[in-house]
């Protein structure tokens, strides 16, 4: 520190340097922040990333049977994982597994076991039901509980009851798993409509509605 301070009526050297440094820092920060914008790539909706849409066929997701259409006889009260399979622009089959959040959970329960709040008119005969298999908490894939009481998410032990609309019966998930309306067409299980409620990772219904519109426009 200097002991003698020079009194200068004009701008002091120190002041000048401070202002210059401040300005440089500010400009530098702003330009860095603008460069950060490039970190976030544009999202292109391709057929393999589209969510399950009307007319998609449900196919097996397990490695050994991947791509084979699911038959009613394949289903039971044990979870069966499925992908929606649609068509691309040229009419070829595409399994929509480009977005892992498209994974589905299928169950078939004896008549009468599926109850509200399951949307029964979106099931096949009140027996076969399809849900998004992605936990609404942090997006892990949900399994059958080893305790035999419904479904359990391995990540933070969220629990769901697949017979009652997959409502949350334990753990941190904020919402039930989204139910996917399905119907039987000949031998094949076919998607009848978009998810009835917003699936993971959507956080608000408006966002989900907007996305549905986008999908309809893109695939039309």
């Amino acid at each position: 520190m200097t002991r003698y301070k020079k009194q200068d009526p004009e701008i002091t050297r120190r002041k000048f340097i401070n202002v210059a440094m401040g300005t440089t820092a500010a400009v530098g920060t702003v330009s860095l922040v603008s460069a950060l914008g490039t970190a976030n790539p544009i999202f292109r909706l391709t057929p393999d990333k589209a969510p399950p849409v009307k007319g998609d066929v449900l196919v097996h997701a397990s490695e050994s049977k991947e791509g084979q259409p699911i038959k009613v006889s394949d289903l039971s009260d044990q979870l069966v994982r499925a992908w929606p399979m649609g068509k691309d622009k040229d009419g070829n089959n595409v399994i929509r597994k480009g977005d892992p959040n498209n994974i589905l959970a299928l169950y078939r329960f004896p008549k009468g076991q599926l109850v509200e709040p399951t949307k029964l008119d979106a099931t096949v005969d009140g027996e076969i039901v399809a849900y998004s298999d992605i936990c609404t908490h942090a997006g892990c894939s949900v399994s059958d509980s080893d305790q035999g009481d419904g479904m359990k998410c391995p990540c933070h032990s969220g629990q769901y009851d697949p017979k009652r609309g997959c409502k949350v019966t334990g753990g941190p998930p904020p919402r039930p798993l989204a139910q996917l309306p399905i119907k039987l067409e000949g031998e094949q299980l076919v998607v009848a409509d978009f998810f009835a409620t917003m699936p993971y990772p959507f956080l608000s219904e408006t966002e989900w509605e907007k996305f549905k519109k986008e999908v309809e426009e893109q695939l039309a």
Partner: protein, 437 residues
């Protein structure tokens, strides 16, 4: 040659300033050094691994199990290169060495921090180094997490998915931040290159810079002196100089330590990528983060689900459990030097029992962390029949507060007891001293 070098580099001046820095002689002062050695070994093994690793999540044919021509077995390139590393001579061991070193670095850093806390070495003038140390811990954890993701097996995939979801749970800006951080919607085509960049460039750079600052400040401020130094030469620096005494000690320690971890790496398997397999939609049962993040995981497991909207932003259990709560914990740790009101410079490491409140608070804090970590094992506790689904959260929440409270008062009690004994001893000694006369 010495003369030649000295003429140019003025080694004698460096010698006076740095190379003769006195190191206190006490084993607890080695903890920081062990952390440093781990970092060095991590960098060396990391470089070797990077030479053989392919940072890409594009799909390639698995050369170990190519499948058929019509149905090739496609796996992400990063995963494939992890398999190849395992197949190299000592490749698996190299991966394990890197893994164990990372764990040990964090462990040594945690114990080092405990030493600093319990002996009051964070007090003026060393507050800045406490804060830098905290940053080092945080960035070390981030580096470890990004490293976890690189093999891109199913475990890594699930991990990064949860990390992505946690980032996206930040109200208002979460979506944008998560996409910017992980190169687009999960799992973007560029996710592995992005994380590779973090893990080998950005984060190690930050770690090295912070470590440099940490050590420069330490050299400038000098170590706190152990208690015996007070008796030996009050207000003088006591210890052995870096050159020539401390250096051989350090070398021996570094080599012994590395050797030990090598043995570990040779015999204790870790993170078997073959077992987890490539990313898939089949969940892994009972997936867990590393031990030092288990408390966050535990907090997430017992936090009840809730959601509310605030000014158009969504605030959910995930955000609170995974970001707000750890934020508070980190905040408290950052604030530790601020609780100390003394204005004098601290020269000597304090005896923890002379500061019962600080000691008890520290122990209670650690107890809470342990209970939360145990809460991370909630599914196992339920499967084992110790808790039920219905009561698990309640019991774990009660324990989260009761155990720290009990340990707090227990520590205070024990310290009182020790002091009473010590005083009695002193009185005794005094009485006998008089009797001897």
């Amino acid at each position: 040659m010495n003369q030649w070098l000295d003429d140019r580099l003025h080694i004698s001046r460096l010698n006076d300033k740095f190379l003769r820095k006195a190191f206190p002689v006490h084993h607890s002062f080695f903890l920081g050094e062990i952390t440093l050695f781990s970092l060095i070994v991590l960098i060396i093994t990391g470089i070797l691994l990077a030479l053989a690793y392919e940072p890409s999540n594009s799909l390639v044919v698995n050369s170990f199990d190519p499948g058929t021509a019509t149905k090739p077995n496609l796996v992400p390139a990063a995963y494939h290169s992890a398999l190849k590393i395992n197949a190299m001579p000592f490749g698996d061991m190299l991966r394990r060495l890197h893994h164990w070193m990372a764990n040990i670095m964090v462990a040594a850093a945690v114990i080092h921090m405990m030493r600093i806390y319990f002996t009051g070495a964070f007090k003026k003038p060393r507050e800045i180094n406490w804060w830098i140390g905290m940053l080092l811990m945080i960035f070390a954890a981030l580096t470890a997490v990004t490293g976890y993701i690189l093999p891109y097996d199913n475990y890594a995939y699930n991990t990064v998915k949860v990390v992505y979801a946690i980032t996206a749970s930040i109200p208002w800006v979460g979506d944008w931040v998560a996409q910017a951080a992980f190169a687009g919607k999960f799992p973007g085509d560029g996710i592995i290159p992005r994380i590779y960049g973090y893990h080998i460039m950005l984060l190690p750079g930050i770690l090295l810079a912070l470590t440099g600052a940490h050590m420069l400040i330490m050299i400038k401020q000098k170590h706190t002196q152990p208690q015996y130094a007070k008796r030996l030469a009050y207000k003088k620096i006591v210890g052995v100089p870096l050159i020539t005494q401390q250096t051989p000690i350090m070398l021996i320690l570094a080599l012994m330590f590395t050797g030990l971890v090598m043995l570990f790496a040779a015999f204790v398997p870790v993170h078997p990528v073959e077992f987890f397999g490539p990313p898939s939609t089949t969940p892994i049962n009972n997936i867990k983060p590393d031990w030092y993040l288990l408390w966050v995981f535990g907090a997430l497991a017992i936090i009840p689900s809730f959601e509310f909207h605030l000014f158009g932003g969504l605030i959910g259990a995930e955000f609170v459990g995974a970001l707000v709560l750890p934020g508070i914990v980190m905040g408290v740790m950052f604030a530790v030097p601020m609780f100390d009101r003394t204005d004098e410079n601290q020269y000597y490491a304090e005896n923890p029992t002379n500061h019962p409140v600080r000691l008890a608070a520290g122990v209670a804090f650690m107890a809470m962390m342990i209970v939360l970590s145990v809460a991370g094992y909630k599914p196992e506790l339920i499967s084992a029949g110790l808790l039920t689904t219905a009561n698990a959260n309640t019991i774990l929440w009660i324990l989260t507060f009761i155990v720290p409270a009990v340990s707090y008062f227990a520590v205070i009690g024990i310290v009182r007891g020790i002091r009473a004994l010590r005083e009695a001893d002193e009185r005794d000694a005094l009485a006998h001293a008089h009797a001897d006369d």
